[in-house]
Symmetry: C2
Subunit: 349 residues, 2 copies
């Protein structure tokens, strides 16, 4: 049985999306149960429409809901201990749930998750990992915006955590990891990326296979399973890709509606377009995963619909079932144990 905690008030549409989304996810994975936090008067009428979900859900009323534009510090002041966001995270800490899913505002969710769950040993800053559709399937990209700037050690930690997530999500034994970089040689700067590359090569890890540097266009080609970068670049790469996909879809739509021939062509090829849309659909890959915390936190896109929210729950389900955090803890332990070998005759080996 996998127990998911839900912040029913998170996202642009709150329980109107969260509850139908949970119902969809439950259909796919009947071995789930939910704890749900939100305003009773808003949630109960919706929950009543999904009797199967209601049966599997323990509901807790919360007076306070964090808004989408609230600053993290303000959200923390106002919402700590009492908001649906905080309490849904706390359910993971107390052991009531295995993972939490929220479509609430990213900054507030990260601030509360850090405060409530704390970071893992040896992890200074958590990262947000996104799932990126590629020509070969899906890749993981992190960090996509939890932090700005990262030193070599943090990039290495991101590599370990992303590798563990790839093993948990894609069920591959030794995922490939690439460091995002620019192709220009002999340009000064980004020493931390080069240093992280050296460290990864030397570490010769058993859990991931270090591929080397990758460039921006390698992400969509699916050259590696895990792409590692600091949060500023990662966020801009992600949003630029989203923007380009939307732009192309828009141009295609307008091109297809220009002549009678192209309109007929569109109707005949509609199935193909639908498949394309599905493949590039951000709703289908809607789970941002917070990595490096003592608990699994899934961030769903704030503007998503029930289908997208269900996909985020699916990601949480997979992460729990495949023991994401145990994998990360184990990988970090192994790495750091090797970094600090006990003094003695083996030291030189």
């Amino acid at each position: 049985m996998i127990r998911i905690s839900l912040d029913a008030m998170g996202g642009d549409f709150g329980p109107a999306v969260v509850i139908p989304g949970a119902a969809k996810a439950l259909e796919r994975h009947p071995d789930m149960v939910f704890v749900m936090y939100g305003l009773q008067q808003e949630c109960e009428p919706i929950l009543a429409k999904f009797p199967k979900l209601k049966e599997k859900t323990t509901f807790h009323h919360c007076d306070v809901a964090i808004t989408m534009d609230e600053k993290p510090s303000a959200a923390l002041r106002r919402g700590r201990y009492v908001s649906s966001m905080w309490r849904s995270i706390e359910a993971v800490k107390s052991g009531e749930a295995d993972a939490v899913v929220s479509a609430g505002n990213t900054g507030a969710l990260m601030a509360m998750a850090k405060f409530c769950l704390r970071t893992m040993e040896n992890i200074e800053r958590p990262a947000i990992a996104g799932i990126w559709p590629t020509l070969k399937g899906e890749s993981i990209v992190l960090d996509i915006g939890a932090t700005i700037g990262a030193d070599a050690q943090q990039l290495l930690d991101f590599s370990l955590m992303g590798g563990a997530m790839a093993r948990a999500l894609f069920e591959i034994e030794k995922p490939t990891v690439g460091l995002l970089n620019v192709g220009v040689e002999e340009v000064k700067g980004q020493e931390e990326v080069k240093e992280a590359g050296r460290m990864l090569r030397e570490a010769n890890l058993s859990t991931i296979s270090y591929h080397g540097f990758v460039e921006g266009d390698d992400i969509g080609r699916g050259v590696v399973d895990v792409v590692v970068t600091e949060g500023f670049t990662g966020n801009i790469a992600l949003k630029t890709a989203e923007g380009t996909a939307k732009q192309m879809a828009e141009l295609l739509r307008s091109a297809m509606s220009r002549t009678l021939m192209s309109k007929i062509g569109y109707l005949l090829a509609k199935g193909a377009f639908d498949r394309l849309r599905e493949k590039m659909d951000p709703r289908k890959v809607n789970g941002g995963v917070f990595l490096g915390l003592n608990g699994i936190v899934i961030k769903s896109h704030g503007g998503t619909d029930a289908e997208g929210y269900a996909a985020a729950i699916d990601v949480g389900y997979d992460m729990v079932r495949n023991a994401l955090n145990q994998k990360i803890v184990q990988d970090l332990k192994t790495y750091h144990a090797r970094r600090l070998p006990p003094a003695g005759p083996e030291e030189a080996a």
Copy 2:
């Protein structure tokens, strides 16, 4: 008359693309003349096929050609004073040409251009500006890879230079400028972006209209005429967008060839697809412009064809005709004069 200097040996295909490209550009702009640098035995037979171009071209033989994978420092050592790349740049310095176009390797071209032409007064580091297809038309994005990391003053210089380029290329009076940033509030780091924003707002420039921060997905939407960022992020954003566009085209192609219906649909809508491809075609927007040097240097994509190379020449033509560098010099002068007001009673004003 506009005089363009050509590095015939630059790019993956050298004169086989450069010469037909120049011929295409000349058809569109008969008021151009060329100085061309390259290996005589390679260039002459190709040039002979384009008599109109040959008539407008002064050819100079050079023994040395810079290769595409040569490191900038090595290229500079081996190719200074003697290579087709160096000599085509030198033609701008000596006043023989108004702008130089090369499809040669970016690092070497930038190193030679800096060494030969030197940076403008008040400009510490040149930038590479790219032309980005958007839903509204085109925008300028800089820096896309000349430097890594930029302080607030450099981001402001990029804004001024990008603004001047937008005025020269798009012929708009007061282009809008946005600083690329992430949407997350209260995240530490990237102080230089925030500081540049403050400086731009306070400077209240007459030549550009400062829009504020933009995010990755705003680029393709064409929210601003000029997007400013440092070279690491800019390069990754550009390549990620290219990768996503290719990925979508690939998925579309494979989706369209799956069933008989979709194949027929494709044939009927082929015109529409061709229009889309043209709109997103990197060849059509193939001019990367080096900004901040005492001379106009256009970098064409190394793997482009004659059509793409001609587009790069077109960019050079527009930059010369619309006095790009005079605009930049004037804008920098105005800005820096205001920054350092003469001591006296006006100081407090």
